[in-house]
Structure formats: C-alpha cells, structure tokens
Symmetry: C2
Subunit: 198 residues, 2 copies
Amino acid sequence: MAAKKRSEMMEETRAKLIASARKAFAEQGFAAASMDDLTAEAGLTRGALYHNFGDKRGLLQAVVDQLDTEMAQRAHDIGARAGTGWDGLLAEGVAYIEMALEPEVQRIVLLDGPAFLGDPSQWPSQNGCLHMTRQTVERLIAQGVVRPIDPEAAARLLNGAALNAALWVAASPDPQDVLAKAVEAFRALAEGLLARPS
Amino acid sequence: MAAKKRSEMMEETRAKLIASARKAFAEQGFAAASMDDLTAEAGLTRGALYHNFGDKRGLLQAVVDQLDTEMAQRAHDIGARAGTGWDGLLAEGVAYIEMALEPEVQRIVLLDGPAFLGDPSQWPSQNGCLHMTRQTVERLIAQGVVRPIDPEAAARLLNGAALNAALWVAASPDPQDVLAKAVEAFRALAEGLLARPS
DNA sequence: TCAATTCACATACGCGACGTATGTAGAAAT
DNA sequence: ATTTCTACATACGTCGCGTATGTGAATTGA
C-alpha cells in the first residue's frame, strides 16, 4: 500500500462525503438530511464538510454535479447507440425519462436541485443533460430533420416533458403500464419538432 | 359593522396567514421562511398557525391549493376565450407558461410544491391546471383533432414542458425575447399531438 | 341571566440542526 | 529540527420547529 499524498487524501474525503450525501439526500431529501448523521456515516465530522464544501448547499451542488455528469454520459451513450438521426434524439429522451425514475436522480436532481440551487441551466455542471440534448437538436436541424426552431428552447421543453413524465410514472401504482403511456406521449410530442414536407 | 361570528373570525385568520405565507414563501422560499416572522406579519403567533394548519407543510399545502385554484381559473378563462378547438389548448399552454413567470407561482407551486409536498397530482387540489389540461385534451381527442393518446400523459408532458420553459424564461436576462422562443417551441411540440391525415 | 364549557389563539419550553470559532496533529517547507 | 501550514475535529451560539400548557372570550344550557 503506497503512502497517499495529501491531495489524494483530500480527494478521497470529498468522494466519501459526496457518496454519503447521495444516499442521505436520496433517502430523506435535502432538507431533512442531517449533516451530523451524513458525515458520521462517512467516518468524518461536519468539520470536514464545511472545510471542503463551504456549507450544506455546497455539498448539494457537488452531489448534483456528479449525478448530472453521470446522467449526461449515460444518455449520450444510449443516444449514440441508437444512431445520429431522429431515433437518437428519441432514445435520449426516453433514457432521460427512465433515469428520472431512479430515486437518486428524481429526488436530488429533479426536485431538490431546482428548489435549493435554482434554475438548472445556471448550475456549474451546466446541466449536462440539457446541454447534450441541445447539441443533438442542433445536429438534427442542420440535417434538415428537425424544423429550424431555437435548439435551446426545444431541449428545455423536451427535458421538462421528460421530467414530468418521470414524476408521474414514479408516483403511479403501476409504473410499467404508465411508463409505456408516457413514452408514447413523448414520442408524439417530439414529432412536433420534425420538419414538415408541407 | 356587524359583530363577527367565531367561524367568520377563524376564516379571516386563515386568510391572513395564507396571505402572509404567500408573500414569505414567494420571497424567501419555503425552507428559509420563518414561521415566527410570517405569523407576526399577520398580527398573530405560531399558535394560530399550528391550530389551523397542523404544521409548516400544512400551511404550504393551503397556499399551494389557493394558488393552484386561481391558476386553473385563469387558464380556463383564457383557453375558453380562444375557443374550444386546437387554439384553446395552445392558449392554455401559453397562459401556463406566462403564469409560471410570476415569482409566486414559480417559487411556490413549481419549485417548493413538488419538493416538499411530492407529486402534484397527489395534491388535495388535484393540481387544477393539470386536470383542466387533461379535459381539454380529452375533448380534442373526441373531436378528432388530437390523435388518440393517453390524455393524462399528454397533459402531464405539456405542463412539464411549459414549466421548464417558464423557468428558462424567468432566469434569462431578456425575458421577452426568450419568451417568444419558448412559445414557438411549445407550439411546435404541441403540434406533435395533432391527428395526422397520414 | 349566569355558570360551565369549549375553543381559538398565545405563551413557554425542549430539542435538533446549522454555521462558526477555535483547537490540534501531522504533513510540508526551510 | 524547527516552523509553518492545513485538513480536519471539537465546542459553542443561535435559530427555528413542534408541543405542551395557559387564557380569555364566545357559546351553551337551564
């Protein structure tokens, strides 16, 4: 076991705190989660927390950034696997709906994030999912597949639709059935973006 | 001045507390708002609050119900003025986007509401806006204007899209310009619901 | 009309959680 | 080897929620 440098130790501490916070925030919500409990589970104290993240919101910010980055990566992979065309965008959107079913994502990124950190597009992580959807839309507009509308606006509305679909699915007693309906409605809505041959 | 009955007095205190809470929650957010300050501004104490609403969440629930009812009424009027067809649905959606620009609506109903009360469709007020949009969609499906998809799903996604559009507009430095883009994108998306002559 | 009761609200208290100020041990620097 | 620095721990003050208890005015019943 090689001796660890100080910077490595600090990275490890940050990682442990973020991991504990992810669990606590997902299970109890940001407001109800106790910093004492949270840090204790990571084998640390609140001192480490305030030293590394400034305050409770700073920790939430770090957790959200990590989750958002993971989500963007996953959605990108799924979208790319479905191709660079229209199907890619649909796959991304559906992937987003399905990811939003995970309690961690829903509670932290979709509910507490906007409530306590404000508008997602202002986050340091820039909301990777949103950014990625926008790029996909831009590409499809350039391809002539999607009609020339503001790509930022389109990405916003698509992500918003997906988010609410996920909230609905998650709260339903029969998630599988509701998920199918949500995906169908999402496909229908998204088709409104298609260039009409008119 | 007629003497007031006890029930009338109680209604008045409830109204005063809700009014104070609307201001406080809108300005500071639910989590940061202090019940002591809130009740003091209404000329009361926390005693009245806990007697009438049970706890802090109960007060938020009451505020959200009131706002939601007002929003549904306003959107209904605007939609009805635009007719009972496709334009009615579009008008409702745009009205929803514009209402979501008001700090009271955005902060309380769209951000803190879901975060602290859970899924909007589970609220006692049943989320009037959502309910109304669904009815409109159902009517248009019956008319053959909208293709036969699950109306609940469609209403959910439309409202979700409108919400995120509003968050975007509100956070932008040039709301007027961004609002126009958002409305355009919303119209495009919504057209995906139209029945195709395929 | 008057005593008894109810109730809407105020007051008082305890507890938990956040943020800060201070302490400390070990690594880094010279 | 001494000094400095820093990543964390410890200790403290404060604030806000929820509850338990008190009180005066309105209501009830005879």
